[in-house]
Subunit: 291 residues, 2 copies
């Protein structure tokens, strides 16, 4: 199947499941339910959840229905993190996924609480899923590491603490790996854990996902400079005072680095992807993306 | 043992374990580690964690060391919720536990992220604990319900949406039960689950904890009117425009309601507390507290 059709098909299935897994709009208090649904259902590429499903499948997993709630949990965590990131005190972004960001739509108080609620809902969704407790435990261990103070949140803290003047490639790598790449990495690893993959495969998934995430974030930074607001779906040129690959290495060299990370990712993921090449094609597509 | 000594002893043990379970201050990024430690270690009565330990003990649990991380997780969740509640966009409180609130000390951006990190850390602490996976799963189910959109966060949303003009006892009860009492309830229930208590006991714990939490929150509102800032450790008279028991029923009648909830709580908890009367004495002490 052509990779774009593959992604569209899975995005459709995940979107459907997200609607199911979110509190219905009239769940009291309805402002909160609406705000939770607003950001999650505003769209998005669903890359993290598709990665989980794809790695699960490629490692021999066949019970997609059982695994879909786990994929949804990743999207809830991703959305919570976007909502909090967009707040005036952090990145102060007014648009996200082509529509007003949560705090512009619902006010800062509801946005903070909707982010919290989605975070909590992710764990509830995992807890309530029909995966066996031993696998849930394994998943929670890797997930809470990747999204916590030594993962996503650590990356966000260094992101707000850094500025364009700090010309440190090490710091930049820390921010990108923690803010973005760990989450890609754990999405791939979770697919493997759920499918019962062996240690060697889990390591490849972890590494392959990490490099894919690095490439993804560099492209994101490049799109902030070069991108079209209409296509990107959020304000562009918002990173002017931020430490980014383009600000440190220039656009052309940043593109080279993104390509290099993509190659590394494909190399590591080859172990599970040799036949289908779905992940490889996904990586190539992400490298060329315009939004 | 006298109840005040009992509480002091367990608070000591929990405080010690909290220090252990938090990221060391120099964990990169150190601003985040410091902010996480700042609010958690600023003190606090540790009621929720002591409730978990006490109900665990009273239900026959003997492996305190194994259960202490679960108690810490409750304190991390409580602290995250206080940090986000104090933010300018929500309650705008400058003081907490007698010291500057997180955003006053570290800035709003770090406060939001420190709250997120503590939330995440709570689940990491549960995931990493040595409790068997089946119990972890049970705990996660009840906990994520109590703290999520239909629990604490739902209560907070209605709290920010309500004001003193809305003379609805039903709404007031919703806010108090969700914002505070569900968390007391689940703390008690978790102790029972960890000790392997039967269904009847779990129900008593859930109900007893709920009524205790209602009484606790009403006393909190009363202290906001009558209390001494020095003793309470935060600004008082901050609830002037809020829907509270004193604003709806007056101080004297609110005290009566708090007493009534305390009695109901004792009645339900009697099933596990008949011999020791620790919970009973704790409830009576909370009813008379001045901070």
């Amino acid at each position: 199947m052509h990779i774009q059709n593959y992604l569209a098909e899975w995005k459709g299935k995940i979107d459907e499941k997200l609607v199911d897994c979110l509190p219905p709009e009239n769940t009291y208090p309805s402002t909160l339910s609406k705000a939770m649904r607003y950001t999650v259902l505003a769209g998005g590429k669903r890359i993290r959840s598709i990665l989980l499903i794809t790695t699960y499948r490629l490692c021999g997993g066949e019970e997609i229905e059982k695994v879909l709630p786990m994929a949804c949990a990743l999207e809830f965590i991703h959305s919570y993190s976007l909502i909090h990131d967009d707040l005036p005190a952090i990145d102060d972004d007014g648009y996200r996924r082509g529509i007003l960001s949560s705090h512009k739509k619902f006010g800062e108080d509801i946005a903070i609480l909707a982010g919290d609620a989605l975070f909590s809902h992710a764990f509830r969704t995992i807890a309530e899923s029909s995966i066996i407790p031993e696998k849930k435990e394994k998943i929670l261990k890797v997930l809470t590491y990747a999204i916590g103070n030594q993962g996503i949140i650590g990356g966000q803290v260094k992101d707000v603490e850094s500025d364009v003047e700090m010309k440190s490639p090490k710091l930049l790598r820390y921010i990108h790996s923690h803010k973005t790449a760990y989450f890609f990495s754990v999405s791939c690893e979770m697919g493997g854990i759920l499918a019962g993959a062996n240690k060697e495969k889990l390591l490849s998934l972890r590494r392959g996902g990490l490099f894919m995430g690095m490439a993804f974030q560099i492209i994101d930074d490049i799109l902030d400079v070069e991108g079209d607001r209409e296509k990107v779906g959020k304000e562009v040129n918002t990173d002017e005072n931020k430490l980014t690959y383009p600000s440190m290495f220039g656009l052309e060299f940043s593109k080279k680095i993104a390509r290099r990370y993509s190659e590394l990712s494909m190399k590591h993921l080859k172990l599970i992807d040799e036949k289908e090449e779905t992940l490889k094609n996904m990586i190539l597509l992400l490298l060329e993306r315009v939004k």
